[in-house]
Symmetry: none
Subunit: 238 residues, 4 copies
């Protein structure tokens, strides 16, 4: 009621909400571009079209603001993960969707993933925050994998939590490859100039995972020694 009246009297107050968003976006952008320390509060204020004073009205200090940006990004990622896992298809299909869409997300929202790296190196991050951030995907992945193991869709010779971590390891590195200049370059060291432009990385990793998470040692079939001619689709110039 009261809120509604306020909304009518000061419809601009809604701008504040929007402005908040704008400010955080400016922060994420700036931090991901230049890093925590090289980004100045003035820079952020300028990008957001506000004065530093506003920044300090909403946030205690630079670190507080940085953490808010991290939360913002983490929340976005959680939503991304939620959306994909909402539709209760087979875990393997979900994983497939996750990988494919991660690539697009990482390309579109590079700052988000760079901010992740920026955060990961922060020495003063409270334990709880880390659990907050990693807990959700950890649970989602582990549960899905346990589920798949029970259905017989996934290898059962390993702790589901470990498989979940390996999955996230690979997914994270994939995302970094599309978001961080360093890991981008690294991907090209491995996959050549077009490693990221074409489907080399995404498709390749997808296919790697498909069997890596499905087959267990016991599934091994005897293979007769074969000569150097590998199948066409796995060849590539050095």
């Amino acid at each position: 009621m009261r809120l509604h009246r306020l909304f009518i009297l000061f419809p601009e107050k809604k701008l504040t909400e929007e402005k908040q968003r704008e400010i955080l976006d400016a922060g994420v952008q700036a931090f991901s571009e230049k890093g925590l320390e090289k980004t100045t509060m003035n820079d952020i204020a300028h990008r957001a079209g506000i004065s530093v004073g506003v920044l300090y009205k909403y946030y205690k200090d630079k670190d507080d603001f940085f953490r808010a940006c991290v939360y913002c990004v983490v929340e976005e990622m959680r939503q991304f993960l939620e959306e994909i896992t909402r539709e209760r298809t087979k875990p393997l299909l979900q994983a497939k969707a996750l990988i494919t869409k991660s690539r697009r997300l990482a390309e579109e929202k590079r700052p988000y993933f760079r901010l992740y790296l920026e955060m990961a190196r922060n020495q003063s991050l409270p334990r709880e925050l880390i659990h907050d951030i990693e807990g959700y995907p950890a649970r989602i992945y582990t549960d899905a994998i346990r589920d798949a193991q029970q259905r017989g869709d996934m290898r059962r010779d390993l702790d589901p939590a470990l498989l979940a971590m390996c999955f996230d390891d690979l997914l994270k590195m994939l995302q970094f490859s599309y978001a961080s200049p360093y890991f981008e370059e690294r991907a090209q060291v491995y996959g050549g100039e077009h490693a990221l432009e074409e489907d080399w990385l995404t498709e390749g990793m997808l296919r790697f995972m498909e069997s890596a998470f499905t087959l267990e040692s016991g599934d091994i079939r005897h293979r007769e020694e074969t000569p150097a001619d590998a199948p066409a689709d796995c060849k590539r110039e050095a």
Copy 2:
């Protein structure tokens, strides 16, 4: 490389070579502890037992010194990799050794891996440096994998370079888990309190890789649906 050059510049001072080492060590330590920006040149000079003036005699500026530290670490890692791959055992055995010893290395030389993370976020790293750094392991891994594929020891349905990258992805995340506070905590989110102390992570990842890199989709064997009782070795307390 750099070290060699310096040695030539001041050949009369055998101490210089040693001192250089000390200075770089101080740098690696400091940078990995506090990050590039939070580390001061005075701090480094103090740790190395020299004056800032010396620092600026050997290195153009802070960034130049940081890069030298990175080189130093990379060089160390290269040697580590070289040592392990020198003895021409089977690639799979080498991988095994790499993983097991990586853990120990990461624990003993945490600064090295933290410096890697610190470096990876640096936006102003020249392409060439990245190729320099990642090129060596990329080549080693890819060659070894191609080799193994030809012998039939490794799945052939994927580009060796891609498999190499996946391998390095997992290895890197493993190393980070033992070296970076953030990834340490993350490992515990997945594997519980003792994820790092016991062999949960190292052993688990090793076993994951064993089949992940060996089996290909075609190897799939029909498995009869099994009930909820997973094999003992994949169970874990909640």
Copy 3:
């Protein structure tokens, strides 16, 4: 004075008069606690339960408001002095009352005296303001002393204005001792832990003044040399 003017400006709002009082009280409190510069306009507004805008409606700027607070305090002190000197008893009795009641006033209204100190250090105080503030007590004291001199109740060998000033000097220091943390501590340096709690300071100063303002050099009586045993009432534990 000022208060009167404001009352005329907003005569329709009886509340304003009261609010004014509240605002000034908030100011006096804040300024005396944290000093002129460390007190913020927001702080004052918050204490007074108003918005900064109001502050700037009534007062040109922070300095103007500070001066208003000073006036307020000075006015209060003037009333205090007026009340005591209204009843036309002997000057010496008035002085006695002044000292005794000053102590109570200083303890109850510490902010008033601290604000005095805060004001006394202000370099940009207009001459007139100082004359305004000190003129009233100066006149009262001087007149009373001149009066007492004529009656023979006070030493006549000195200018009544000078005696008045000495009296005010001692009175001020007494007040500071009960109101300012620094002078409080100083009193304890002289009189020990309980200098202020018991009557050491007040009573002592009263007795000091009694003869100091009464006797003149000519009154000197020959005193035979006496040994170390001072009279009981001047002894004190170490």
Copy 4:
């Protein structure tokens, strides 16, 4: 020895000592002119002909520097007091010298006494510092007074510590009158335009003290009531 060699090798090092002095002087000057908060570190650096960096090399922060200035002033005052009390003349003569020379000191070194006022209002002064500052004069005065009481040169009806405090009260106000614009003006309110230029204040207070500290109530002599004509030397225009 070593110090001597250093002195010869780097005679400029002595400049540092001198520079220290210059810096503190600049600080005392600035703080006493504009107050603790209104004085900026840049201002001080500028006055001292150095850069802010130097200030922060020698002193932790502004507050630390302020305290150093206070110590510097206090030390100076202690020396002043020491010099005067060194020659073991009669306490009353020492008091006389103290008052006379205080005036000159206060006029020459106004900043010192203004800094005292600036310090006295500081809320965060540690107890110990206050005891440090006030302890020395308190002891000197109290001892001298006790001594004089035993000789019969001073009134014995009061605690020597209390008399000491009254003496210091009057001395401090005298000093303030010559050093602080506010108390200067106040002195003129009492003593007229030339209160400070001529000897009205100094001489008057001296004569006031002479008997105030000498005579005790018991010394009172009966005085016959006298008419309004006070002695010439105590008259003054209003």
